[in-house]
């Protein structure tokens, strides 16, 4: 199609003598007819076939990219969630351990406290009993002291003056002396 031959039968439209080719108006009708046909044909081919085809390829690629990005985002959210769950589990475990430790410590402390208290009470009771025994012994000793003192006083007075004093006088005198 590079160098078309002039067909001998038809009169070539303007064999150079017709002037400057772009201004040879006798060629206009033919050019316009073929331009319209070619242009409309190209327009229909483009708008109905080629452009929707290219457009759909671009669109599907864009959709694929968007889908991949969305998927990546979802996966990232999922992994974030997993990390959060892990952290939460860790924190829970830590808190749990803390609670158990606290509870155990409190229990131990309470047990120790109660043991200490019973021990103390026991000791106090023993102490009180001992004090009571001491007091009783002291009272007994005191009353023995008085009896001995009265007997001694009577014996001494009898030896000195030869007569035994009355019990009452001896008891008064002893009580008076003990009071001092």
């Amino acid at each position: 199609m590079a160098e078309p031959h002039k067909s001998g039968t038809t009169q070539p439209a303007g064999e150079h003598k017709g002037g400057f080719p772009p201004f040879q108006s006798q060629t206009y009708a033919s050019q316009l007819v073929w331009l319209v046909i070619a242009f409309v044909l190209l327009y229909v081919l483009m708008s109905k076939w080629a452009l929707p085809r290219v457009g759909s390829i671009l669109e599907s690629r864009q959709k694929r990219i968007d889908g991949d990005i969305a998927e990546a985002g979802a996966l990232k959210a999922q992994s974030d969630e997993a990390v959060a769950a892990y952290e939460k589990a860790l924190a829970d475990a830590r808190a749990n351990a803390q609670a158990i430790a606290n509870e155990t410590r409190d229990k131990q402390a309470a047990a120790a406290e109660s043991r200490r208290k019973t021990l103390e009470d026991e000791l106090n009771a023993k102490l009180a009993e001992a004090e009571k025994t001491i007091a009783a012994t002291k009272a007994a000793a005191m009353s023995n002291v008085r009896g001995i003192a009265e007997d001694a006083t009577r014996a001494i007075v009898e030896r000195l003056i030869g007569t035994a004093p009355s019990d009452k006088a001896v008891a008064d005198a002893v009580a008076d002396a003990l009071k001092r």
Partner: protein, 252 residues
């Protein structure tokens, strides 16, 4: 014949007649052949490139996707997301002109966009699309386009006149820009190529050796023309978007 004639490359050559409408004969020409070649190339590029629908695109698929996203970004940034309803239209215009420009850069080919009737027809298509969609969408409010806000009443008639004039002259500048760029670039390339032949045939071996200079120019110009081929297609497409934006948002 006419090896040195820089105009010869723009000649419309009849291949076979097809029909007769009134006085004018409809002929399948070299121009028509290249237009259909462009249609096939563009469709093949986009459909074969995306044949595998790969998630990670091959080079060809990547190129097809880049062309799609390039035009989509251009439309969205100049005409807003509402302008995306015209995306197939703008894409067709851009790829059609771009492919015709690039095919025209190959030696011995024909550059369809170097014919004013083609660029004018495309520009008028855009113009009518803007006008009709603007009227359909906004009714008579579409003509607010010609009445900028905050202009003193005194000079309003003048401003409206200028706005209307600039609106009507849009298809002219729109079409002539592409046409003239392609025409001038191809003539320049041909002229420099002609120098080589001239020097060679006039001065023999010395001339052929000296022909290296215009040949170097051709290499540089071809690079420039490749840029121009892309740039003009892009300019045509972005102007289309800007004009469509006027139809979608007529308020200044």
């Amino acid at each position: 014949m006419a090896a040195n004639d820089p105009i010869h490359q723009f000649q419309i050559i009849d291949l076979f007649p097809v029909a007769k409408i009134g006085a004018s004969e409809i002929v399948f020409t070299n121009s028509a052949a290249f237009m259909f070649a462009a249609v096939i190339v563009i469709t093949a590029f986009l459909v074969i490139g995306t044949a595998k629908r790969a998630l990670v695109p091959s080079r060809l698929q990547s190129a097809a996707e880049i062309s799609y996203e390039f035009v989509a970004t251009t439309v969205r940034s100049t005409a807003g997301s509402e302008g995306m309803r015209f995306f197939p239209f703008v894409f067709t215009i851009f790829m059609f002109i771009l492919t015709l420009n690039f095919i025209g850069l190959i030696p011995y080919t024909f550059t369809v966009t170097s014919h004013i009737i083609i660029t004018a027809a495309l520009a008028i298509t855009v113009f009518l699309t803007v006008l009709l969609y603007g009227l359909y969408r906004h009714g008579l409010h579409f003509f607010n386009l010609f009445v900028p806000k905050g202009v003193p009443l005194l000079i309003m008639p003048l401003i409206v006149f200028i706005e209307v004039l600039s609106f009507i002259s849009r298809p002219i500048s729109h079409s002539v820009r592409l046409f003239a760029n392609m025409l001038a670039g191809h003539i320049t390339l041909k002229v420099f190529a002609g120098f080589i032949i001239l020097m060679g045939s006039a001065m023999g071996a010395v001339g052929w050796a000296g022909g290296i200079l215009p040949f170097g120019m051709i290499v540089i110009l071809t690079a420039l023309e490749t840029l121009v081929a892309f740039l003009q297609a892009y300019v045509f497409a972005i102007l289309t978007c800007i004009y469509l934006n006027d139809a979608i948002h007529p308020g200044h």
